[in-house]
């Protein structure tokens, strides 16, 4: 197994990560599409300090096979293609900064600059003079048409202060001033004390115009004074919005990553916090996952180094579970390969589930048409063997419905444990069965449940968008709905099968669901299947 890490990016964060990994004696290869002359100065510095660093410029990742511990990554440099044996991948690629002129009714012109451009001319005190000396009034438009970020707010406030220091007049026009990061409220107070005028809009909008000479005019009714105002800035500074670059989109496709609503490399799922993705061994940092502040970048740098130097094997291998395919029964339909949210099913000449990439969710096992997949390491995953014995009278006045509650081990199962603490008198007939993910329940499991004596079955899973296995909860809901339809056809009451969503801390909701279900089952009476055994 190679212990090499592939680092993709060309910025200060990439340089920081590289140095941190080198300091931890980790073998590293760095690849970036840019030319040597366009390397970030910080990266040049790292390369100079560490002569042995393998640095591939003008190099794009073009394909990837394998999984954590043994990725084979294809890197294309010009006409040349090479394969690298890689243990983990870190993506720290920059985002594209988009400037939306048309949202403000403006078009590109010399009188309009971006936050980035204004920063470049005023980044040092000596250069302040190089701002167009004609420009006396500057207006920053921050978070007006779209909500902005605290980082852009910080940048605007610093740039405005520097302009003010150079004897210019700076205005910041904004909707919600984003001070939600460390030090920003203080910076805001400082900026106001320095004479920068902040104008906030909540129920009105400024009206922007550009004449033939590209002169921008801004008219608005001040919401506090209630009076109309007009500004004719010499320079208008526009906010930027981060978007994934086309290379980042390529990387997302090549590495089979889930994305967030803006198309960045990390799904909007609480189970992917930090630098994690849906794939073991592929980490994303900074701009690649659309976090922007220096503080967050520093944290990302540390966490990448932490995860990069963490042993890939868990410290107690016996505790690890994974799915295995019985190749004798497998018909190579590739259902598992297409379904796996973690891309853990490798297809070569043979088909195999990689234990280190597998999260043992069991989605593949439930969906496999040949039932050729078993999840090993989870005691008694074979559901038939786990069905509890029904208890309590089967009918009559004391009828106590037998309820099997299949609970996702991440959410509903701890909720059920909490319910027991909150209300020790849970229904006597309730049997709670932990499963790795509700998506691991096959139709067969559910039918076996009824055959084994359940008067009703609850499938308790995570909320939509909260499933660690991406769509395991959705699969469970679909499967239950399908079975309910079939029940309706054969005259078996579909209320006997119910799906609920819970979080791990929802003990009270667990209690409500269970008691409500028991009440309904009492109305329905015994299922009749148990006595036929």
């Amino acid at each position: 197994m190679s212990a090499k890490i592939l680092l993709i990016g060309n910025n200060t964060l990439t340089a920081g990560i590289a140095q941190d990994l080198i300091n931890s004696d980790i073998d590293l290869v760095l690849a970036t599409p840019v030319d040597k002359t366009d390397l970030s100065p910080d990266l040049v510095d790292v390369a100079r300090k560490n002569q042995g660093l393998e640095l591939l410029t003008q190099s794009r990742v073009s394909a990837c096979r394998g999984s954590v511990g043994h990725f084979t990554v294809q890197v294309t440099t010009g006409q040349q293609v090479q394969s690298l044996e890689i243990s983990q991948v870190v993506i720290a690629e920059d985002a594209h900064q988009h400037i939306d002129y048309s949202a403000h009714g403006l078009h590109p012109a010399a009188s309009i600059v971006s936050l980035d451009e204004i920063e470049k001319v005023i980044s040092t005190d000596t250069e302040i003079e190089s701002i167009d000396n004609q420009a006396q009034t500057l207006v920053f438009l921050i978070g007006l048409k779209r909500e902005t970020t605290p980082e852009n707010t910080r940048r605007a406030m610093i740039a405005a202060q520097n302009c003010q220091k150079a004897g210019k007049r700076a205005y910041i026009l904004t909707g919600n001033l984003k001070v939600g990061d460390q030090g920003l409220e203080q910076l805001y107070r400082q900026a106001r004390a320095a004479g920068i005028i902040f104008i906030k809009f909540s129920h009105t909008h400024p009206r922007l115009r550009m004449d033939k000479q590209d002169q921008v005019t801004i008219e608005f009714d001040d919401e506090i004074a209630g009076r109309p105002f007009r500004l004719s800035p010499d320079l208008t500074v526009l906010d930027e919005m981060a978007q994934p670059t086309s290379y980042l989109q390529d990387l997302i496709r090549i590495f089979e990553l889930e994305t967030d609503p803006s198309g960045f490399t990390q799904a909007d799922n609480v189970h992917r916090i930090g630098v994690g993705t849906n794939r073991a061994g592929i980490l994303v940092a900074g701009p690649a996952r659309n976090v922007t502040s220096q503080r967050e970048h520093l944290m990302d740098m540390h966490i990448v180094a932490l995860k990069g130097s963490m042993p890939i094997e868990p410290s107690s291998p016996e505790s690890q579970a994974w799915a295995e395919i019985d190749l004798g029964s497998c018909i190579r339909c590739l259902t598992c390969h297409r379904l796996c949210p973690y891309s853990a099913v490798e297809v070569n000449t043979s088909i195999r589930i990689q234990p280190r990439a597998c999260e043992a969710c069991g989605l593949c096992a439930a969906e496999c048409p040949r039932e050729a997949i078993q999840v090993s390491g989870i005691e008694g995953f074979n559901m038939d063997a786990r069905m509890p014995e029904p208890k309590g009278p089967n009918n009559g006045a004391d009828y106590m419905p037998t309820i099997f509650a299949f609970c996702c081990s991440r959410s509903a199962f701890p909720a059920g444990r909490l319910a027991e603490c909150l209300n020790p008198a849970m229904p006597m007939g309730l049997k709670t069965i932990a499963i790795p993910c509700a998506g691991s329940l096959s139709l067969n499991h559910l039918l076996t449940g009824f055959r084994s004596g359940a008067d009703g079955i609850l499938v308790l899973t995570c909320h939509t968008d909260n499933c660690h296995a991406r769509y395991g909860n959705q699969r469970a809901c679909e499967r239950a709905a399908m079975l309910q339809d079939q029940f309706a056809e054969i005259g078996f009451d579909k209320d006997r099968l119910q799906v609920g969503t819970l979080a791990a801390n929802m003990g009270m909701a667990f209690i409500e669901i269970v008691f409500e279900f028991e009440k309904r089952l009492r109305e329905l009476g015994p299922s009749g299947l148990r006595s036929q055994q």
């Binding site: 919401e223 930090g274 966490i303 909720a415 020790p424």
Partner: protein
């Protein structure tokens, strides 16, 4: 890195996350938590999912606690404190632990002690990872103050309560320390909003506890369904008079997500936000916010004061953000989104623990060569996801420090 030992002070989400990260490097970790329950403030928060997860992260705290409980390298001490810490080739300190007066193996959560205690000193946990689930608050317990009250011990049908259990002290040492002492919630009593005088003025933390306690509509203590609710943001944050020159960062998220959950449960409720600037919540804030704007009233104004009418409803006085004129509105319930303030300084070890603070009074989380690191809200206001990240970042700094000191 065998045979190295790290002490984490604070068993909230940051402390637990730091311990879990360190354990992956085969380090032994002691987590010292002063309260009877692990998980900090965050473990009391509600899941605010409506028809889908809203990414508040409350469930992550639960997950971290359950993982830490199962981890053989992590020892968790609740009701514990450290004293007399000194640094001399590592850290040396005394660990004091007040025993849980409730035996977790015997307690069946029947709840009789809750009714028996004349002081309301028995607290209940909020997580399946809380063992014992019932605990005694020594500040309130009469027996802990040498008074002859043994009502709970006598009344417990399981003989699970032992009031005479002794506090223990043990000399300990470790190679590094992580301060994850969390935040102090701002006490809004000094603000003119009648907190503790009007029972329908509550904090957002109290609202979260209410929300997780029932799945039904929000009720006032008099048993009336709340039909009109207001959220006042920035109570104790962004406040120059208090010299609190920081945004607490989590309150906009807590209030907006709570409001959406309440509205989902009772669609006809009227929600009003009093705010300065709405801060970003989650990854897809534009969409989240425009939805909220369509459903709730947003008043860009911080109310001057609140009075209680004869009917128990609350009259809120504020400057109308459109006309700038004084206005009055009436609500069934007012939620104060209270700020996150710096943690209480650790007592009795000032000399050894160099707790450098920021201008705001939070602990500085810069790299140290002293072997003391900081994580989570002790270093400044942040949400659950960022606390986890901050803790993992601190864990990495700790590991590097231990490597260097080994070399």
């Amino acid at each position: 890195m065998i045979d190295k030992h790290v002490t984490v002070i604070g068993g909230g989400v940051a402390g637990l996350s730091a311990a879990l990260a360190l354990s992956r490097f085969d380090l032994n970790v002691d987590v010292i938590e002063s309260s009877p329950f692990l998980g900090g403030h965050a473990i009391r928060l509600a899941c605010k999912a409506t028809d889908a997860c809203v990414k508040c992260g409350a469930c992550i705290v639960e997950e971290k606690l359950l993982q830490a409980l199962q981890n053989p390298r992590i020892r968790l001490f609740t009701n514990a404190r450290i004293e007399n810490m000194r640094q001399n080739q590592g850290f040396h300190y005394d660990r004091w632990q007040t025993p849980h007066r409730v035996d977790p193996d015997r307690c069946t959560f029947c709840g009789q002690c809750l009714d028996l205690c004349p002081r309301g000193a028995i607290q209940t946990g909020t997580s399946s990872g809380h063992k014992p689930f019932y605990a005694l608050n020594p500040q309130l317990c009469r027996s802990a103050h040498d008074e002859d009250c043994q009502a709970c011990q006598h009344g417990c049908p399981e003989n699970a309560i032992r009031l005479d259990a002794e506090t223990t002290q043990e000399a300990c040492q470790s190679d590094a320390v992580i301060l994850a002492t969390g935040f102090t919630p701002f006490d809004p009593e000094i603000k003119p909003y009648g907190y503790r005088r009007f029972q329908n003025v509550i904090t957002n933390l109290e609202l979260e506890e209410k929300l997780r306690h029932t799945a039904g509509p929000l009720m006032t203590p008099e048993g009336k369904v709340v039909q009109n609710i207001a959220f006042i943001q920035c109570v104790g944050s962004r406040d120059a008079k208090l010299n609190h020159l920081w945004c607490s960062r989590i309150c906009c998220g807590s209030s907006l997500r709570s409001a959406r959950l309440i509205e989902w449960r009772q669609p006809d409720i009227v929600v009003t936000f009093f705010y300065i600037d709405i801060q970003n919540v989650g990854k897809n804030f534009d969409q989240f916010y425009s939805k909220a704007q369509g459903h709730f009233n947003f008043e860009r104004s911080i109310p001057a004061d609140i009075f209680e009418g004869n009917d128990g409803r609350l009259q809120v006085h504020f400057a109308d953000s459109q006309t700038q004129e004084g206005k009055e509105a009436t609500f069934d319930m007012v939620v104060l989104a209270i700020g996150l303030c710096p943690p209480q300084p650790l007592s009795n070890q000032k000399e050894a623990i160099d707790q450098r603070t920021t201008d705001d009074g939070f602990i500085q989380d810069t790299e140290t060569s002293t072997g003391i690191f900081a994580a989570g809200t002790a270093t400044g206001p942040m949400g659950i996801a960022e606390s986890v990240a901050s803790a993992e970042s601190a864990a990495w700094s700790t590991i590097r420090y231990l490597h260097r000191s080994q070399a």
